[in-house]
Symmetry: C2
């Protein structure tokens, strides 16, 4: 065909998700390990799914009364209601006063996509977004694509090997009035209550608009309420905010990514306006959100027995994570690995920092075929009885090997 | 709370989908009818679902080997492959030469959302979009939101009561070089093969980029191949194009809106570049697409027995539609309704024009509580044995009542 392609100038896209995973898949070494799955893994190395999910999936598929009609653009009402109650508690003032609502969104980025569009259109002056998180968030890309100026800031201090609340404070000090502040997983922030109060007052006086991310409620402390306690403080502090509530991971239905863009407004009238605008954006994005994930989650949340069973399954996962972390720390200690490894058990949640230098990570990837992101943040549920020795020995080796070229500072400076 | 809401300036959104449906729901009249559902309805007035779907849903839910891991951003490979083969045929040159591909998208608008983003970024000079369709398409909004100048044009001629191919030709004559031409349901165009050839040559010489919409393959003629024959001509004509292939409706899983943005390029190298860029847009839109709909469809398409059963179910639906249309026409004739009603049976597909004036539609809505969109385009599957008499009598009444104020021209001019 002699014609010139209309796509002649289109290059290959860079930085697509999963380049580490691609490297791992192409590796022929039989000992290779991948420690950066987004999904929570079982002891057998499979993606974890809450026991109640399979049962509920079956019930739904056997229900002859169910039709497969389109959901309204706003999504499944019962799903939104149940999710809001899970997030804030049934008796939250925001719920009682009808000023908390939401729109059913798609995938882990959908709520950010929708929220960013709204902010771009209705808060034209706020074109700066700060993202504070313990990791590189995919949402940065969403805001960037929409024309926002995005600043990302990690609260993980790789030198002190801990989450540093002071980073959060210094960011809030320098951010411009009226900007958007995305707070990644709020539980990583490690602020005391009085520190939260101080932060909230700074945010208020600067009219900063908070945009929270609750990516896996229940998988941090194994306690659903505990995991969103800070969010409830913001409600009682009279804040208006957005929150991306993604529940798929907490149920183990990663493949049915459903989320909600939660809106808290000062009153019902404002809420209705905001939700109606969000719905019109959703119309252009996907018209109708997919149902299955929302249906599974709603069926579980609205049934006391299933709800209890789900809560129990969350507790088990979290207990297992803590046990794994303890074991990793202990094994590193027994191997005489230099340095303190307390930071491993100091943080809750599936993912956490190993506290390795980039050379150490490189050693693990290249010499041991243990695939770890450059920042050393791994998914601890990828570690199980059959690989923990290989992993801890690898880490220990990496630390010994790179001892000369160390750029990781010791916890206390030697005199 | 004395603080001023940050949402103070946000008004209620207008023109949200479903205002007619809302009016219908608020109507207390026991005889009320809604004839504009997007879903295909059964004789019993429920959303139609292909018999194979329930069986397949159950099989999937009972499969213990299935895990619920994230899909890659690009989506489910087997789903994309099976859908492409359904669209173009297994032996299509575009498939054999590895220059047809796609990205798994969400909902009925997802493919347009993704395609519009791509065109906005990579074909910056093409900022004009023409949409030719038999109806008002929701995609117009998608392109508009993205900053395109959008012109919409209906090929339905309400005076001649037919689809007029000349409208398509006159649009193509006046559109600017290099613009994007969205062709709604291609089967409504009613062009002869030689007319298509003429059109294709005009599009080529003006370097127009075609963007097709295949919203319900198989539900037009009950023949999957027949429904996409024109698209295959475009492939053999050496065109590069996008196509939104939405399969949910053809299976009756409206609630799991999955679609594919299909790309046909001149060669594999261009295809890979385009797909990689689309994937990076999808990353920011939803990160990972939901799986269930794609899994159901792929299970059916890749199993000969299920595939046959599905094809049979499509045939039955289409036969039933034609039967309903015949009956409506016959009843209108028996009621002595003035005018020709041949246009009802002249067009295939679930939806079609009744050929009513706006006054007649208003009469039906206000006096008979039969809810019909202003343009008189209804879903014929909403008509069944229990309501056909009420509907045809209503139409007849409306025509008689508005006879004096008629603005609908007769088919042939009287001397």
């Amino acid at each position: 065909m002699p014609t010139l392609s209309v796509f002649t100038d289109v290059p290959l896209a860079h930085k697509l998700e999963g380049s580490l995973l691609k490297m791992y898949k192409q590796d022929d070494c039989p000992n290779k390990l991948f420690l950066a799955y987004r999904a929570c893994m079982t002891r057998e190395g499979c993606p974890w799914v809450s026991v109640v999910v399979r049962k509920t999936q079956l019930q739904i598929s056997q229900d002859p009364s169910l039709n497969y009609e389109y959901l309204p653009t706003m999504g499944m009402k019962s799903f939104i209601q149940a999710s809001l109650e899970l997030l804030f508690g049934k008796h939250s003032p925001a719920i009682m006063e009808n000023r908390a609502g939401g729109v059913h969104t798609v995938g882990d980025n959908g709520a950010f996509q929708l929220g960013a569009r709204f902010l771009r259109t209705w808060r034209r002056d706020a074109n700066v977004v700060y993202i504070i998180s313990s990791q590189q968030e995919p949402h940065g890309l969403v805001f960037q694509d929409m024309g926002f100026t995005v600043y990302e800031c990690s609260i993980w201090d790789p030198k002190k090997l801990c989450m540093d609340p002071n980073i959060l404070f210094s960011v809030v000090e320098q951010i411009p009035r009226g900007c958007v502040l995305v707070i990644g997983n709020i539980l990583d922030c490690k602020l005391t209550l009085s520190q939260w109060a101080k932060l909230m007052s700074a945010l208020k006086s600067k009219q900063v608009f908070p945009f929270f991310d609750i990516p896996c409620q229940g998988l941090h402390n194994g306690d659903l309420e505990e995991d969103t306690r800070i969010l409830r403080y913001f409600v009682s502090g009279g804040f208006e905010f957005f929150c991306s509530q993604s529940l798929s991971r907490s149920f183990g239905i990663y493949d049915e990514g459903v989320s909600i863009l939660v809106v808290v407004a000062l009153n019902n009238q404002h809420l209705l306006c905001v939700v109606s605008q969000l719905t019109s954006f959703a119309q252009s994005l996907w018209l109708n959100p997919p149902t299955r994930g929302a249906r599974v989650i709603t069926s579980i949340l609205c049934n006391c027995a299933l709800l209890e069973e789900w809560k129990q399954s969350l507790k088990e996962v979290v207990e297992n994570i803590m046990l794994t972390k303890e074991k990793v720390k202990e094994k590193l200690r027994l191997l005489g690995t230099p340095g303190s490894w307390d930071h491993i058990t100091e943080h809750s949640g599936t993912h956490g920092y190993l506290g390795l230098t980039s050379q150490q990570v490189e050693y693990l990837v290249k010499k041991k075929h243990i695939y770890i992101p450059k920042n050393g943040r791994i998914n601890f549920t990828c570690i199980n009885a059959s690989n923990i020795d290989y992993i801890t020995q690898g880490i220990s080796e990496a630390v010994f090997f790179t001892r000369g070229q160390e750029n990781r500072l010791p916890k206390e400076k030697k005199p």
